[in-house]
């Protein structure tokens, strides 16, 4: 008796509490309780609530299936105009229904619900559903990464005005079941936009984020995506030209000169989208850096123009005997050094030119050197060292990323041991250990102007550092899951991050705020690359899918056909910005026509027809001999360097 009647008694207590006399009488009569234990009803408030929630309408497991089925039918039968927009509602509703069923202890129903409707969800959500399906108890919701994301954040759905009114009308009709209404109220943010409903392709283009699409307001801030004005390097043109003329045949120099003038003329043109040069304080160029820059310009003047008809040559560096141990690599900007990070905490640096790697002389010897000498930098290096490869030891976990600074005097590395280390390539020792991340650091990148660097990791944050501070200057928080990759904008003012929550975000280094959030990727993002002009960003994911985003709008500019069959871990733009190369674990390197990708994007917007020309984007694919591609780099003359590890079939 007591077992069964406790809920009824609880109801009685509630009725009395609100002083609903007649209802109480009717209940008594109907349940034939009599007025016996009225006084014994003195349940504490909390228990009362828990008893009552158990009999909340939402707790009836059968209503869920019915309600979901009803919603599905409504969406299927609605006009094509609204159909696709409305269908984005299905997934969040489905997820929250599953979580509610778990929450109310209807595990069997939850499992059968998942089995029945799980397969119908979009393919890119299947992986998430698999992760979610392991949650089978309400205690597990708390603590599960994905379940927590869903239960503590709102899923954003964008609907046109008409579609949302359709939805409202439908929900109004469903008086008997408040399940969906409650879910939508509590967990879904519906953003209404003016204009016609979007097509299937348009909906699909931006769908895929863990929490749906971004709010429109989040992408309103202006982004200064233009390039900075390059400081004039007056010192150099003279020697540059001299050398040029020596190299050129005597009948040609005039033409060459004109061309180079052109090159120098172009740079100073001010870009309306460029940030002011002093928006972010940048370090002054040192004498040696200027020499380096001059070299770069000289090299750049010799580069090959690439295009669909003139594909780059690819030089492939195979790491032999490395098996699965080599996990990260970088080639310095002037393509003379190769650094590889290993599974066993080791970092190796190879020279790719006949110039050997030299260490600095000992302190006593350094004192003897004339500091005013012009070649002091050469003199301070040990002449006897003739190594082609040097090791850097210090980390205590796999080295997930190594990065050369723009002037190739330093190297950054990040590791599973939660630290970022700065190494000197002159002393060949560790200079600084940056501690700040709490969990493994996945990626670290230099600012193109040096001094700053950014790191990202498993702790869902990205951080901006300066080499002379041991604490981060900015911490960028917002991603819902691991921040798997990070990249500096060419003008050093912004940082882009890609994450396991399938969003790409752009952060302002000055304010530390998020200025763009871009959804549309269907899998975890492992690599990012800014185009040379700074307006576009390309991203590659674990499913082998690639996307190109327009920073000015924050929308996807193109979704490249999924040509890769394994995660993409390397992207590189050619130095003239015409060819995008991608390297994947499926042992292929693919070249994409980036001019075509960006040319067509305005047409797409007008015609609303983005799909058909995609086949034209892929220029060529090169397979390697069972060597997954782990790094790509364009030299200043537009030769593509690729790094991979040979993995024998055994």
């Amino acid at each position: 008796m007591s077992e069964k009647s406790t809920p009824l008694l609880a109801v009685l207590q509630l009725l009395r509490k609100y002083n609903l006399k007649s209802t109480e009488d009717i209940l008594r009569k109907e349940a034939s309780l009599g007025d016996v234990e009225c006084e014994s009803l003195d349940l504490p408030e909390v228990e009362l609530a828990s008893i009552l929630t158990a009999h909340h309408t939402e707790s009836d497991p059968f209503t869920y299936e019915l309600a979901y089925d009803g919603l599905k039918k409504f969406i299927e039968n609605s006009l094509d105009l609204y159909k696709y927009e409305l269908s984005t509602l299905l997934y969040p509703v489905f997820v929250h229904m599953y979580l509610l069923l778990i929450l109310y202890d209807h595990v069997e129903h939850a499992v059968s619900f998942l089995e029945k409707f799980g397969i119908e969800q979009e393919d890119y959500y299947q992986e998430d559903l698999k992760k979610l399906s392991i949650v089978k108890h309400k205690d597990q919701i708390k603590g599960n990464e994905l379940a927590e994301i869903y239960s503590t954040n709102k899923f954003t759905v964008q609907l046109s005005r008409d579609a949302s009114s359709q939805l409202k009308r439908y929900l109004h009709e469903q008086k008997n079941s408040s399940v969906i209404i409650n879910i939508i109220n509590n967990h879904i943010q519906i953003e209404v936009h003016d204009g016609p409903g979007r097509t299937q392709a348009q909906v699909r283009a931006t769908a895929g984020g863990v929490l749906g699409e971004p709010m429109k307001s989040e992408n309103r801030t202006k982004v200064y995506y233009g390039l900075l004005k390059e400081p004039d390097i007056q010192v150099l043109p003279a020697p540059v030209e001299d050398e040029e003329e020596v190299e050129e045949t005597p009948d040609k120099p005039k033409k060459k000169k004109a061309k180079k003038d052109n090159l120098f003329m172009k740079k100073p043109k001010s870009d309306p989208n460029a940030p002011p040069n002093d928006r972010i304080p940048l370090p002054d160029l040192k004498e040696i850096d200027k020499v380096e820059k001059g070299k770069a310009l000289r090299e750049a003047s010799k580069r090959v123009q690439l295009g669909p008809d003139s594909l780059p040559s690819i030089c492939f560096y195979t790491l032999l005997n490395s098996g699965h141990t080599a996990i990260s690599c970088d080639i310095c900007d002037d393509s003379t050094l190769l650094a590889v990070g290993f599974n066993n905490s080791n970092i190796k640096v190879w020279t790719l030119t006949p110039i050997k790697l030299r260490g600095m002389k000992s302190a006593e010897k350094l004192q003897d050197i004339d500091r005013e000498a012009g070649d002091v930098l050469v003199r301070m290096m040990e002449e006897k060292d003739r190594d082609t490869c040097r090791n850097l030891f210090g980390h205590s976990g796999p080295v997930y990323k190594v990065a050369f600074d723009p002037f190739k005097t330093m190297l950054l590395s990040c590791s599973e041991d939660t630290t970022v280390r700065l190494w000197s390539l002159q002393c060949w020792t560790c200079l600084v250990v940056y501690r700040g991340h709490v969990w493994p650091v996945w990626d670290v990148r230099w600012s193109p102007h040096g001094h700053y660097f950014a790191s990202s990791g498993h702790d869902r944050t990205a951080r901006l550092w300066a080499t002379d501070h041991h604490l981060p200057l900015r911490i960028f928080i917002g991603h819902y899951s691991d921040v798997d990759c990070i990249q500096f904008h060419p003008n050093s003012n912004y940082i882009a991050t890609g994450s396991s929550d399938r969003t790409v975000r752009l952060w302002d280094c000055l304010t530390g705020s998020q200025v763009r959030i871009m959804t549309g990727h269907k899998s975890t993002i492992f690599t990012l690359a800014f185009s040379v002009c700074g307006r576009w960003i390309a991203s590659g994911g674990s499913g082998g899918d690639m996307m190109v985003w327009d920073l000015s709008t924050g929308g996807p500019a193109a979704s490249l056909p999924p040509a890769h069959t394994a995660p993409i871990h390397a992207l590189a733009f050619s130095r003239d910005g015409t060819v995008l190369s991608s390297g994947s674990l499926d042992c292929t390197i693919k070249l994409w026509d980036f001019t075509a990708i960006t040319d067509e994007s305005p047409i797409e917007e007008t015609l609303n027809n983005p799909i058909p020309k995609e086949d034209k984007y892929l220029l060529q694919s090169f397979a390697t001999k069972s060597s997954p591609v782990k790094g790509l780099h364009f030299t200043r003359r537009n030769l593509l360097l690729a790094v991979g590890t040979y993995e024998s079939s055994a």
Partner: protein, 637 residues
């Protein structure tokens, strides 16, 4: 549940939990507790694996490893699993019985003392960087570092279904062929009217390559030939030239068999070998050209101009090995390759009179010309022998008696070539049959039984078998053995041993620290005018670094010979020369047996290294022009 269970994962069973509980000393675990535990453990395991996936991805791998699990445990503040280091994937075994199924990881018991006493493992090779061109101006060069432009599977598909090539999108992945100028125009025109099923035009580079390779392969420059064969054996991207190569080989064999040009036949067979060795080629399509060519080189009646001198036996041996390799690689249940090849050889061994009478009279009544030539018999025996002992048992053993009669007939007859052939055939038969007979018969080997069962070859076979039985390790002994036998020509004009031969062998003696026996014997040939044949036998003991062979000289050499033998060697501890039991009139035969120094002296029977003198090349002594095959044969041996 079936499909959905796959889609959303499985869980640990109650039974597993109970077993695990028992293993930690909890005898009675209630069902409820087990259920609760199973659910929770399943959940936690899955979470850990999900986290480990992140580490796997960031290690740029596609296979989860134990270190990933360790790192995932670490970020959950759990202790790592120690001692589970396994570089390869663990084989997951399955066993069932008593209505229960069990999946387990096989854990072998390791003997620690064995590990301690074992030599330290080799230091792994250091990581090194190697650069090559993956693409030059958008064209992928077909170098060994790059994958073959058309994978074996694709080549196979193309041969099975040629239309697939047409339906493929225009060559996005094409490599090795520059798409420019004419080719591009050609492609454009092709897209208008598709008539040809598969294009077979070769680029200019490929034509040049074909010309160079074929010239080098049959030319006289041995270093170039080696390079060409290396290229054939290693280069990817030869598939487009393959039809032409195969035609080249088959036509070449046809012509050179008629002309009895042994050298060229050898070159062509070496080309076949190189093509077979090339991993990136799908040869199946061209077997109809290659197999007849190879089998021709095995069983042809005559392969050289002077059968009594030229060593066409080596070519037959080599081609037989090739055939065995082909059979092993390409035999499938549909093409029945091995069966067909076996039948071919078996037919050659067929005795015309085998069905009615197996004894002499019918043989004698047959004309000499009707018989299968001895050389062909040799080839057929060799071909069958390479296919394995089972084949030998079924196809050669029943015909031993008949073959013996042929050998006997030829040996007692006149004609140097026939006698040589018969000697070789006999030797070959003994070598092939002895291991098989050893398996078949029980130890007491009575010469009379053998004589009864195998006819003429019986006694020799019995000797060979008992020799194998007495030295069990002989087949596995790893001693390096080089046998050089020079049989001087049976020409009356030729003088005693040619200086070139001697210098050749003495050079070997000085260069290597191997034991060397040079035995010279006078033949008991009925033709008195022939000069004594020379046999040089070089025997090397096992080349183990631990042996003191180089300093004092080891190895006991036993020479069975019916003739006086000169032994010139400082490095041999003991030399036993015995008179061979071979009946008079048999060809000179040298049995050289090297004994390891650990054995007692003079223990001939326990010789771990048995060397059978084998004629490797024969040539005219002091001939003005050395035949080109001299240097080739070292490759074949």
């Amino acid at each position: 549940m079936g499909d959905s269970e796959l889609a959303y994962g499985s869980s640990l069973t109650l039974d597993s939990m109970k077993v695990i509980a028992e293993s930690v000393g909890i005898a009675t675990l209630g069902d409820d507790a087990a259920k609760e535990l199973a659910d929770d453990v399943t959940y936690r395991l899955k979470v850990i694996v999900q986290d480990a996936m992140k580490f796997m991805h960031h290690s740029k791998r596609q296979k989860l490893s134990i270190t990933d699990i360790d790192h995932a445990l670490k970020i959950k503040n759990n202790e790592c699993q120690y001692g589970f280091i396994q570089p390869d994937s663990l084989p997951f075994r399955f066993a069932s019985g008593g209505g229960r199924e069990l999946h387990f990881i096989e854990e072998k018991e390791i003997d620690l003392s064995e590990i301690l006493s074992a030599p330290p493992p080799k230091v792994p090779l250091d990581v090194s960087v190697r650069a090559h061109w993956l693409s030059v101006d958008g064209v992928q060069p077909t170098v060994p570092e790059n994958p073959p432009p058309l994978s074996k599977e694709a080549q196979k598909l193309e041969s099975v279904d040629p239309i697939s090539k047409l339906s493929k999108p225009s060559n996005k992945d094409s490599a090795g062929k520059p798409i420019c100028g004419k080719a591009a125009r050609l492609k454009a025109s092709e897209s208008v009217h598709v008539k040809q099923l598969a294009t077979h035009e070769l680029s200019v580079e490929q034509q040049l390559y074909y010309k160079e390779i074929t010239e080098a392969c049959v030319g006289s420059d041995e270093t170039r030939r080696a390079e060409a064969l290396q290229s054939l054996a290693c280069d990817p991207g030869l598939h487009e030239m393959l039809p032409r190569m195969c035609t080249f080989i088959s036509e070449g064999v046809k012509v050179n068999v008629v002309q009895n040009n042994l050298a060229l036949l050898i070159y062509l067979m070496r080309m076949v070998k190189a093509l077979l060795d090339n991993q990136s080629l799908y040869l199946e399509k061209y077997l109809h050209e290659l197999i007849p060519s190879v089998s021709t080189c095995i069983v042809s009646r005559q392969l050289c101009l002077r059968p009594e001198m030229d060593n066409h036996w080596a070519l037959r041996d080599f081609a037989a090995r090739l055939m065995a390799q082909i059979c092993k690689t390409f035999n499938t249940s549909t093409n029945n390759l091995q069966t067909r090849v076996t039948r071919l050889f078996a037919k050659a061994l067929q005795c015309p009179s085998q069905t009615n009478n197996e004894t002499g009279p019918s043989m004698a009544s047959m004309k000499e010309s009707e018989k299968t030539p001895l050389a062909s018999l040799y080839g057929a025996v060799q071909g069958l022998a390479e296919l394995g002992p089972e084949v030998v048992k079924v196809f050669i053993l029943p015909r031993v008696r008949w073959l013996g009669e042929r050998v006997e007939g030829a040996l007692s007859g006149i004609g140097g070539a026939d006698r040589l052939a018969a000697g070789n055939l006999k030797h070959q038969l003994l070598k092939v049959l002895a291991p098989v007979v050893r398996q078949l018969r029980q130890p007491p080997d009575q010469p009379e039984d053998y004589k009864r069962d195998f006819g003429y070859l019986g006694p020799s076979l019995q000797q060979a078998v008992s020799k194998i039985r007495s030295s069990p390790s002989c087949s596995t002994a790893g001693g390096a053995v080089a046998v050089v036998t020079c049989t001087p020509p049976l020409l009356p004009t030729a003088p005693s041993p040619s200086p070139s031969n001697i210098s050749h062998t003495t050079k070997t003696e000085t260069v290597t620290t191997r034991n060397l026996v040079i035995a010279s014997s006078t033949p008991q040939s009925p033709a008195p005018s022939t000069p004594p044949p020379q046999k040089f036998v070089i025997v090397a003991s096992q080349q183990k670094p631990t042996q003191i062979q180089s300093s004092s000289g080891t190895g006991h050499i036993v020479v069975h010979s019916s003739q006086p033998t000169i032994v010139r060697s400082q490095n041999v501890q003991s030399v036993v020369v015995t008179s061979g039991p071979a009946p008079g009139g048999a060809a000179q035969k040298l049995m050289v047996v090297g004994v390891q120094p650990q054995h007692n002296q003079g223990q001939v029977s326990q010789a771990p290294v048995s060397v059978v003198a084998k004629p490797v090349f024969a040539r005219g002594g002091g001939g003005p022009q050395p035949p080109p095959e001299l240097d080739d044969l070292s490759h074949l041996a």
